[in-house]
Every structure is written in C-alpha cells, then in structure tokens.
C-alpha cells in the first residue's frame, strides 16, 4: 500500500522527535495524572451535616429523624457541642453545615414562638439552600402539627395526640418514589475526558499543520512525482493523522486507566471506539479550518482561538449546564459535546444502540467537514 510510508512518516514527525514525545505524549499523561490525583479525593463526597440536638421535647428528635432519612447527606449526631464548636466545625471544613437544636425547641413551638434552631453554613449554595428549605418545611410541619392538637384557646398540648400525629406522619401515605436512573458521571464531571479530547484535537491540528507545511515546502509535490495517486497521498495523510491521535489516545488513556486507576465505568475498548468517532470529526474540523487559512503558522494561531473555547462551551472542563442557554445550544455544533454525551451514556450503562445517534452525528460531522477540508490533505493539481 503506497500510503503506508506517508502515514508512518507523519507519525514519526509528530511523535518521533523528543519535543513531540514530550509535548504530545508525556505532558498530557502527566497533566492527566495530576488531575486524577487532585480530583479523586474530591469526587462523590456527601455533604457532612453535624446536628447538635439538645431539645428536651418531642419535636427535636422528630426533626432529626426526618433529616436522617435524607440519603444525600451524611448526618452526624451530637448532643453536647457548644454553638462555638458547631461554627468551628463548618469554618474548619470538618462539616459542610451544622445545625443546632436548642433545649427549649419543643417548648417554643408549643408556645407559638419563633423557632430558634440554627443552621450554620459558609455561604448560600443551591444544596444548602435546599437543606434550609427542607428544615423550614419540617419546622412548619411541626408547628402545624402542634397547632392541630392544641387545645382550643389554651397554650397546652395533648402530648399523646401530638405523638400519635407525629407517628402517623412517620409512615406517610403519600411519598415520592425515586426511580433508579443509571446515569453516567461524565457530563457532570467531564475534566478528565475533556482534557483528553482537547489534547487529541491539539495533536490533530499539529499533524494537519505538518501536512500544510508539506504543501508549502513542496515536499508534497515531490511525493506526488513518485508513482502515487493523489488519493494515496490524501489517504496516507489522513491515516497518519488518525493513527497519531490513536496512539496518543491509547497511551494517555491506558496510563490513566491502568496506571493511575481512573475509572469512568466504561470498558477501555468501548471508550476507544467512541473516541475514534470523535477523532474523525475532530480531524474534519481541523482540516476544514486548515482549508480556510493560508499557511501552517496561521493554522496554529487560529487553532489556539478555536480549540480552547470550543472545548469550554462543549462542556469539556465544567458541566455544560453551567453555561447560559444560548451557549449550550451552540455546543451542539462541536464534536466534543457529542463525544462526551456518548461516553456519558455508556457510563450510565447504555449500550452502543443507545449512542447510535451520537456516533452518527459525529460521523456526519466528519463527513461534511472532511469534504471541505480534504483538499488540504492531497496535492494540489491546479497550482
């Protein structure tokens, strides 16, 4: 096959040099391993909530029980912390929030006074706003329950009735039943895969840059004077770029999978197949860009402008849902987004039939872009 030497040649030039090896293989692997190390400790931790229940009445423990039912929090119970110590727990990062239930909590409820339970947190965030809302609901429920059993006109409470009412609510008739969803954790936590996608795209842009250099320096024309067809050269360059990126993928992915123990819950092989589709689309994108610029220097500059921002809006570094809606829609035009979603689905237990659409989109993306950009890969017959 006449294309083989061309492909091999391109591989040598991108990875065969010391600089290429460092920049394209070692640096990405190193960076990813640092990332893996930094984030492995951070992921998937439940928010820790310390509850200091000093209430002497019924209602305090009722509040605690309802909190303990929530599975998203890790609840730690104490009885004898001072408020100062509770604050310190949050400030020192030992707990994400702490709740103090004072000894007269029940009594104040019965007296119809303002509740004095306290929630300490660093600042308002969605999760602790939810916690606060939940505590509010619970407190309101308790207050309402108290009022229901309150003797008319008096500040006394029939405690048997109250206990019965609370007990009845402990086994609620109406409930929300969570349907087990198997969802991937890539879209919500894309950094590792996202960085790989970025590195691969950078490497592709580099190899397309070399192909452009070939055109400028007329070495491509020289190749064409050998007994080769134009298609052989185009295919050699195409295959070379694909193989280069695949080698980088296998090495970097292999290191993160097997050496650093990163596990996104997707078999190595499936991951590689999805990423191959992404490679095709990314190669299409880069070569289409190359078709628009005049020389390889411009290409590397333009790619700076395109690669990092498209990686950002496609959700490579942080979840897509953090971005404004119009940017989220824009992300549909980037191959990174579809690759991440496909990987995410696989991670959620999906099979290849579930990501057929994603792969098709990547493939079509590649086909359209390569149609624009393929002129870059082959010798120009008209000039």
């Amino acid at each position: 096959m006449a294309s083989i030497p061309i492909a091999v040649h391109l591989i040598k030039r991108t990875m065969g040099t010391r600089r290429g090896l460092i920049m394209n293989v070692l640096l990405p692997a190193l960076l990813l391993s640092v990332m893996a190390g930094l984030f492995s400790g951070l992921q998937g931790n439940k928010a820790v909530i310390v509850i200091n229940n000093t209430d002497t009445g019924l209602l305090g423990s009722s509040l605690v029980t309802s909190l303990e039912k929530e599975t998203q929090y890790e609840v730690r119970l104490t009885k004898d912390m001072t408020e100062q110590a509770l604050k310190a727990q949050v400030l020192d990062g030992d707990a994400d929030a702490s709740i103090h239930i004072p000894h007269d909590y029940t009594q104040k409820m019965i007296d119809g006074e303002q509740s004095n339970a306290v929630l300490y947190r660093m600042d308002e965030q969605l999760w602790n706003a939810s916690l606060a809302a939940m505590l509010n609901t619970e407190a309101d429920k308790l207050a309402a329950s108290v009022r229901l059993v309150q003797n008319k006109g008096a500040q006394t409470v029939d405690s048997d009735k109250l206990a019965a009412l609370l007990a009845a609510q402990a086994f609620p008739k109406a409930a929300a039943e969570s349907v087990g969803m198997r969802l991937g954790n890539i879209v919500s936590n894309p950094m590792m895969i996202g960085l790989i996608l970025m590195f691969v795209m950078m490497l592709l842009s580099q190899s397309i840059g070399l192909v452009m250099e070939d055109r400028e320096q007329r070495t491509m024309a020289r190749m064409y004077t050998a007994p080769l067809r134009s298609l052989d050269i185009a295919f050699g360059n195409f295959a070379g770029s694909m193989i280069v990126a695949t080698i980088q993928l296998v090495i970097v992915l292999g290191l993160t999978y097997f050496a650093f123990g990163y596990s996104p819950g997707i078999p190595f092989g499936s991951m590689l197949i999805v990423l191959e589709f992404y490679l095709l689309a990314a190669l299409g994108l880069v070569s289409a860009i190359a078709g628009l610029v005049r020389n390889s220097t411009q290409l590397s500059q333009i790619n700076n402008l395109i690669i990092t921002p498209t990686c950002m809006i496609s959700g490579c570094f942080f979840p897509l849902s953090m971005l404004p809606d119009f940017l989220q829609r824009l992300a549909n035009f980037t191959p990174q987004k579809w690759a991440l979603q496909a990987i995410d689905r696989l991670g959620g237990g999906g099979s290849f039939s579930d990501i057929g659409l994603h792969l098709l989109i990547l493939f079509l993306f590649a086909a359209v872009m390569l149609a624009f950009g393929s002129a870059v890969l082959r010798p120009n017959k008209t000039s």
Partner: protein, 389 residues
C-alpha cells in the same frame, strides 16, 4: 533617543500587521472571560425539572397550584413533558436535571386511604437533585400532615383546621440561618466571577504580551535584521530598548482594550483607581517581558522559548486560580510563588474597593518581582541579542 522612538514606531507598525496575533492577545482573553465568568456565576441556577402530571383526580388543582407557586421558582424551572417516558428521556439526555411523574391514580388511591407515590427521576447533579427533592418534600410533608390529621384526629377536626394547615405554606421562618463565610474565604473572594476571571485573564495575557519582546528580538536575530541594526551608527542599546518598549506598548493596548471592553461589554466593575491598575499592568508586563527574555537567553530558539514560557505562564495561571477558582486552598502556598497571584490579588482588592493601604503590600511585592526579574533580564540581554554571545 530618536533611534529608540523610530524603532518603537516600526515595531508597532509590524504588530499592527499581525492580525492573528492581535486577535489571540486581545480577542481570546475576552472570550475566555465571558465563558468562565458566566459559567461560574455564583447566582443560584434553578434545577430544570421535567414534569408530567397524569393525575386527573381531585388533588389535581392542588398539585397545579403547588407547581406554579412563586416560592419554588428560585429553585425549580419546569419543563413540561407529555409522558413518563419523556420525563425519563429528558433526564437521561441531560436536558432536564430532574424528573417528576405523577401517576394517574394518585388522588384516587390516597383518598381511598391507600399509599400513593410520585415517581421522581434524579439527574446528574447532586445539588440540583437536593433542591428538587426539597421542594417535593415540602409538598409531601404538607400532604401527609393533613392525611395524618384526618386519620388520628378525624375528618371533622381537619375541616375546622384546614385554614391553619394552609398557613404552612406561608413561610414563617422555621430555622435561623447563619452564614459563616466572610468575603475572603468564599470562592471568588469579595469579587464576582466575571471580575475574578477578568483580572485573571488580563494578567495571563499581559504576560503573554510581554513575551512578544523576546519573540521580536529572537526573530530579528534569526532574520539578521538585528545585526543590521547593530551595524548602524546609532546606539544599539537604544534600538533594543525600542523593541522592548514597542512590546510594552502592545501590552498597554491589550490592557486598555480588555479593561474597557469588559467594563462596557460585560459590565465588569474595575473599581476605579485606574492609575493603580495601570501600575499593576505595567509591572506585570515588565515581569513577563523580563521572564521571557531570561528564558530566551537560555533557550536560544524562538520555538523552545515560546514553548517553555507558555508552559510556565499556564502553570502560574493554574496555580494562582485562574483556571479553577479555589485551587489555592488545595495546593497551599504554591500560588504565592507566581506573578499572577500578586497581580490578581491586588486587582481584586481594587475591584472590591478595599482601602488602598492594603493594596500597597501586594503591589509592592509585584514590583519587587518585576524589579528582580528585570535586573536579571538586563544581565542576560546580551545573550539574546548578540549573534555570537
């Protein structure tokens, strides 16, 4: 002196012709500020909940009222769906953060005294799930309270008290909230995300801009024009100085465009004190150029210098929290060894309007760094500009 200004003029002329370089030095930071600033906005973004109410029973109106209640709007944004399957799909797709399906027999079963459930579909993001759970919980709690009251106290009790239970929804605060975080230990400090990233990327790209001096020197050495300058009957030092000043003026232009664009385009409040901001930019540029020249004196070729310098700037930006806010807390004091840190901190202090006395400290350190690097760069400069040095 005249030679110097002539060189400056022609350097600027050359920069004005490099359109793609200008786009990278000015357009890219603006783009990154916009993207990161809006992504890490600290405003609470409501969870998008896909909802399908199949129940047509007596509680339907109550359910509708609940979902359209103003009080849940900050936490929940509804996405109507047409079937249970669609709810699930929207969550799987990631279009919705959470899904709720209310089955058709819900009212009927409950009123018949049987247990009944809503089906919920948790999505990918923990905190959005919590928010949706909390909202649903408030409905369920209220409902269960009424059901429990009916069961234990009898229906007549309930009827008389319905007004009381209705007041459950009026938020008498059931809990006191203490926010312990002071401004300094929050993620972006006293500034918002847009201000935070505007400062970080202004500094990062000023450092890049500073590199253009070293690039210009090495390029001119490689193409031989620097040698030609050396042969002229004017001071060679003035020419070299002119090249560096040209790069510094490019950086000044960068700063001017970035600051004014973020001010008027993104509404970033730079906090006034433009004289101080100018000083910070100047010192950063000086430190960046000096660092690039020092690296150039060892690296010799433009490509090596560029690669090394870019890696260095990326690492410094990363360590100083320019890519992930809050990284300083994870890596200890490492950020204090970066140029970016001192520039960022002082810019943010100006933005948040702290008293100028405290800014002096950071600017002072930045000035020290710039001075030391510049002195070293001057010593190494001849290695960069002389053909055989």
């Amino acid at each position: 002196m005249r030679a110097c200004w002539i060189t400056v003029y022609y350097e600027l002329l050359k920069y004005s012709r490099m359109r793609s370089v200008l786009i990278i030095l000015i357009g890219l930071p603006l783009l990154l500020i916009l993207l990161l600033g809006s992504a890490f906005d600290r405003e609470i973004k409501p969870a998008k909940v896909a909802l399908f109410v199949d129940d047509q029973g007596e509680m339907r109106s109550g359910i509708d009222t609940f979902w359209s209640d103003e009080s849940i709007a900050p936490y929940i944004k509804q996405l109507p769906a047409a079937s249970e399957k669609e709810v699930q799909d929207l969550v799987t797709e990631g279009i919705a953060d959470y899904g709720v399906y209310i089955p058709s027999g819900f009212s009927k079963r409950l009123l018949a005294g049987e247990e009944a459930t809503w089906k919920t579909f948790s999505g990918r993001y923990g905190e959005k799930n919590m928010a949706a759970d909390a909202v649903i919980n408030s409905y369920m709690t209220n409902l269960n309270l009424q059901l429990a009251a009916m069961a234990t106290l009898g229906p007549d009790q309930m009827a008389g008290r319905s007004q009381a239970s209705g007041s459950v929804e009026t938020k008498t605060s059931g809990i006191v909230i203490g926010n312990l975080g002071t401004e300094e230990n929050q993620l972006f400090g006293p500034t918002n995300s847009m201000q935070y990233y505007s400062a970080a990327y202004l500094i990062m790209f000023l450092l890049f801009g500073g590199m253009s001096a070293a690039i210009a020197l090495l390029d001119q050495k490689e193409s031989g024009t620097l040698q030609r300058l050396y042969g002229l009957p004017s001071s060679f030092g003035a020419n070299v100085f002119g090249i560096i000043v040209g790069a510094a003026m490019l950086a000044a232009l960068q700063a001017l465009v970035i600051i004014s664009f973020t001010t008027f385009g993104y509404g970033v409040d730079w906090g006034g004190h433009f004289f101080w901001i100018a000083w910070i930019c100047l010192l950063t540029t000086a430190a960046g150029s000096a660092l690039a020249i020092i690296i150039a004196s060892f690296a010799k070729t433009r490509k090596t210098m560029q690669t090394l310098f870019m890696i260095l700037v990326f690492v410094m930006t990363f360590l100083s929290g320019g890519m992930m806010a809050g990284i300083e807390n994870m890596i200890g004091n490492a950020s204090k060894w970066t140029i970016n840190h001192w520039a960022n901190v002082s810019l943010r202090a100006i933005m948040s309007g702290s008293d100028t006395g405290s800014v002096w400290h950071e600017i002072g350190i930045l000035a020290m760094i710039a001075l030391i690097l510049s002195l070293f760069a001057v010593l190494r400069l001849s290695k960069v500009v002389k053909q055989y040095g």
